[in-house]
Symmetry: C2
Subunit: 215 residues, 2 copies
């Protein structure tokens, strides 16, 4: 089987932009070929820097941590939703927008939403003016019991992020944020992979997110 892997992940680097108030990303060698015969890096990063995944514990005190997620949500067939008409500052994706894809928004579905907002990175507006999922649309997705939503914004909403997270995570929906390069996906459905690190009792994880197209 021929496969083409499309990388949907931001490069992570020391000092990269993170959410206002988050501690910095740092990557420094703790061993080097000169000092030890090999290179090893000590990584420091917040769980929500760069392309990453939210577990329910991110917003829900009794929510599942990332090491307890069902991995079947995080790898499998996904549908690409073209919402580039909602790719401007503080736009909202509505129930009507999602209803254009009514047929694929089913229990267990994985949805990857393309707004084009990744073009704004690394501007500060990337965080403060991102388009968002409306509160009503979040309720709609929760009722439809989808398994995963992937976004090319760093979070779910610039202002209503608390309630939108609570609705989605409360419904057990895995949220993958800060995706990029979604324009490179040529077929839908496609095979999507965004597996979290197995971080005991934690709220989220950086991921390497990819689309795998099979021919």
């Amino acid at each position: 089987m021929r496969e083409r892997i499309i990388d949907l992940t931001y490069t992570m680097y020391g000092g990269m932009p993170v959410f206002p108030g988050d501690p910095p990303v740092s990557m420094e060698f703790c061993h080097t070929i000169d000092s030890a015969g090999f290179n090893v890096t000590q990584l420091t990063m917040p769980t929500h820097a760069g392309t990453h995944l939210d577990a329910p514990l991110h917003f829900l005190q009794d929510g599942k941590p990332v090491d307890a997620l069902d991995l079947s949500a995080c790898a499998g067939e996904a549908h690409l939703l073209d919402f580039t008409h909602r790719g401007n500052s503080l736009d909202e994706m509505t129930v009507e927008d999602f209803l254009r894809y009514d047929a694929v928004i089913r229990p267990g579905a994985r949805l990857v939403v393309r707004t084009g907002w990744d073009r704004v990175f690394p501007s500060p507006a990337f965080f403060t003016e991102m388009p968002g999922i409306s509160v009503d649309a979040a309720r709609f997705l929760a009722e439809r019991r989808i398994a995963l939503i992937g976004l090319d914004m760093p979070s779910v909403h610039a202002k209503e992020y608390q309630v939108v997270h609570e609705i989605l995570l409360g419904a057990g929906i895995v949220i993958v944020e800060w995706l990029t390069n979604l324009a490179a996906i040529e077929t839908s459905p496609f095979y999507f992979v965004a597996l979290p690190l197995k971080l005991q009792g934690r709220d989220g994880s950086p991921v390497r997110a990819v689309a795998i197209e099979r021919a």
Copy 2:
């Protein structure tokens, strides 16, 4: 298509055992629901703690960093090699052992080796007495131009790790180390995924490694 995802990854936790001389793993909340409305963790970890992947830069000064790896090595059909007869302290896997799987050790192959050594974790002997790939066997795998080798030991050899790494990484072979739960894989070949974080200019990455069996 029905899929079964088998987790091949160690749980990561603060203070988990790491290679002697490596800095510790730490995971502490930097925001909490009480303080900020949401939980965020600041992660600190060496690139070679827990289930992880080595890039050529780990041992080769001019080697590729992890963000430059061809991801097609890190996701795709893999073969399980049962080397449980080499699962004791300081055992060596030889060319003869690998020749039992001659037919699948081809250019571009992904090989996952089961010794059973993961049973020794978290004892200090897990690091100091692990079985290893012999120097001759490493040369054999390099000549065969395989793409990836996965191991249930934390490294490639307890003593000859320098030369074995240099041979494998010098041949462009991706090394996935510190796998576990390989006994749960019921079919071979199987679909293997161990995608590195996209860490700019770094020597390796923690991964979530899984087998995906399709029925």
